[in-house]
Structures are given as C-alpha cells and as structure tokens.
C-alpha cells in the first residue's frame, strides 16, 4: 500500500511542472488537431468524422456497404415524426430552438450564461419538454436518440462550431471536461485519451480504436453491438464501465462538460451523424 503511494507521490512531483495554466481553448484546439495531423499526415481533418474507419481500409469497405442502406434509417424516420409532432399544448420542438431546430446541431453543446451550465442538444430537448409540461426523455437511447438522429441529420456537412465564451464559468466547464478526458480512472487506470488519442487507430481486441478527433461528429450512432441507437452519453457511460469506473448520471455536469470539451476539439470538422459503428 504505502509503496504505491510513494510512487504516486513521486510521479506527482515529477509532473508538477506541467500543471495547467489559464484555460486556453483555442490553443488546445490547435495542439489537439495538430497532434493527429502530425501523427497521420496523409489523413485530412474532415476524414476523422469516419471514426474507426478513418484508419482501416477493410473495415471501411464493410462499413461502406452497410451505409448503402444504413441501419439508423428507422431512427431517422421516427425522429422526424417525433420532432414534428405537436405537444399537448399545441407547441412543438421547433418552438424551442433557433431556426426551428433545423441545422443547428453543430452549435451544441452550448454554454448557457443564464444558468452557467453547459447544455447539450439532448439536455436542450429535455428542457424544451419540461418547459412545455412534458416529462424528460432518457438521454441515452430510444426516442431521444431518434430525435437527435433527425436533428443532427439536418446539420450534416455543417462545420462543428462550439463556442467557449470568455466567461469564467464557461472556461471552468471546458476545463473540467478537459481534465476528465485526460485523467486516468477506474480500476484499469485508463483515461479517455489513453485509448482515443495515444492509441487511436490501433486495435483493441477486435476493434479499431476511434480517434477522439471527429468522434462526436457522428453521434448519435447505430451500434451493431447494441443492435440499437445510442447517444454520445451512452458511449461515455459504456467506456467508463469498460475501464471499471462507476459511470456518472447521463445528465450530469461531468458528462455535459466532457461533451463540451470533446466536441470543441472537433471544431471545423463537418457533422456526419447519425452514424453507424460496429
């Protein structure tokens, strides 16, 4: 026991010099995208939205075949129907969003200066429902995934444009997401970045690890393993469990901040969701 602590303490001291200064999202973005471009000089930035298929030719060929008639098609249709349905009070989702909710997914997650909180498109949908006297939807799958599939589809091709305003609360949320992303956790002692930055493109058992760059652009996804649609937060929860870390609640600030940071890192890349993944 003690020995482990000594090692930890030593490592803490060694890395103390690297401690973060003031959050600087723009500089982070440049370094993050630069890291991938340096490691994979032949891969154009926009190709990263293809996730694991960015790197694997044979898997890419299978995926292309599956994308001929993508399995999220049912979700898209159902999402459109849900989105266009009127609430009991006569209003609808369109009334809650800029531009009637069409072609806006690239702007999320957003910082809400009124609450000081990060709002994902999913939590915005739930806020809209609550404002109209309805229950919230489960954020991980089902109707929420279908609604997100449709709304994201109307943003396809638009460059991701997440804004971190010069507000200490927004910067703090961004920083919290960043810290979560790079912190090792769980009994297996992995961080998000261990797999999706350092090891991106390599195989973990049967699958190619998706790069963190462009990762959020394809959500929600139809995942063959789930046989079902799932949202980004469903994937966060899955990854946390995989490294034997107890997941947080789907609407927790932890996951909203993580989505904020991670999506910001893909700024400029085109929205490609909904997606299909193994």
């Amino acid at each position: 026991m003690k020995f482990a602590y000594v090692v930890l303490a030593l490592m803490t001291m060694m890395s103390g010099a690297l401690a973060a200064n003031q959050p600087d999202p723009a500089a982070d973005l440049k370094a993050f995208q630069g890291y991938f471009q340096h490691r994979f000089p032949k891969v154009p930035l926009s190709a990263y939205v293809d996730g694991p298929y960015t790197f694997s030719e044979s898997e890419r060929a299978q995926w292309k075949q599956i994308m001929e008639f993508p399995p999220y098609q049912f979700a898209l249709d159902s999402g459109k129907t849900l989105f266009e349905a009127k609430f009991p009070n006569g209003k609808d989702y369109a009334s809650c969003f800029p531009n009637g909710g069409i072609g806006i997914a690239q702007d999320y997650p957003k910082f809400d200066p009124k609450t000081g909180q990060v709002v994902t498109l999913g939590s915005a949908i739930n806020q809209c429902r609550v404002a109209n006297g309805l229950d919230t939807l489960k954020l991980t799958k089902g109707d929420m995934a279908d609604l997100l599939a449709y709304m994201t589809y109307t943003s396809r091709g638009k460059p991701i444009d997440v804004v971190v305003p010069d507000d200490p609360r927004a910067l703090a949320a961004y920083q919290a997401g960043k810290e979560y992303f790079y912190s090792r956790r769980g009994q297996l002692n992995f961080s998000c970045s261990s797999c999706h930055v350092q090891e991106a493109g390599k195989h973990l058992r049967g699958n190619v690890l998706a790069p963190a760059l462009g990762m959020t652009a394809s959500f929600p996804i139809y995942r063959s393993k789930w046989g079902d649609m799932g949202t980004l937060v469903r994937r966060f929860i899955g990854c946390d469990k995989k490294v034997k870390s107890a997941p947080d609640k789907p609407d927790s600030a932890t996951y909203r901040d993580l989505a904020y940071f991670l999506t910001y890192m893909s700024n400029g890349l085109p929205i490609a969701g909904p997606g299909a993944r193994p």
């Binding site: 026991m1 090692v7 490592m11 803490t12 370094a31 810290e179 009994q187 297996l188 930055v197 870390s245």
Partner: protein, 102 residues
C-alpha cells in the same frame, strides 16, 4: 514509469491485506460503515470503481445472510479499492496534464 504500472502494483499489493478475524455482526457492521465512508470520499472525487461497488454489495448481502466473516472480508476489499481509487484520483489531479498534446 507509466501510471499504468502503478495500477498493476496497486493490484499486486492487495491480496495480503484483507484479514477477517472475529466475525461478529458488530464487526461486520463497523467494517461496512468504514467502507462506506471511504467510498463516499472516492465518490466526492468523482472516481468510484465498479469493483468497489460490487465488493460493497457483496458485503451487505453477506451481512444480511449472517455470514459476518464474508461481510468483513468484502467490506475490507471495498475499503481498499476505494482507497486506491482515492489515491488514483488524487494523483491524477496533477498527472493528467502530462497526457495533453502540446
């Protein structure tokens, strides 16, 4: 030395520690309470491990069944795992910046 090595070492250190003597209900309850307190501290750091939760559940279940020795053993395990996750989270408060691409 990579932090991953630390986790491996942490795991290696574990088996020698859990010793359940004099298994009574009071002893089991006390160990469960101790484990719970540690787990609350881990949760406050946002770093509970799922095996910690599993061990704690095993402890509670054994206590319910009156198997106090097993309850104490599982509670001690939960406490140690929680302790390790606290150590990990505390260390990562500084270490995480080392993983950021520059």
């Amino acid at each position: 030395m990579k932090p991953f090595g630390v986790a491996v070492m942490m795991l290696l250190v574990l088996p020698g520690v859990a010793m359940a003597d004099g298994a009574t209900k009071a002893g089991a309850d006390q160990d469960i309470a101790l484990a719970k307190a540690k787990m609350q501290a881990a949760a406050a750091l946002g770093n509970q491990w799922t095996p910690t939760e599993a061990a704690f559940k095993r402890a509670e279940a054994a206590e319910q069944k009156g198997d106090f020795a097993a309850a104490q053993k599982a509670a001690a395990r939960a406490r140690q795992l929680a302790d390790l996750s606290i150590g990990q989270a505390t260390a990562q408060k500084k270490l995480w910046t080392g993983a950021v691409p520059h």
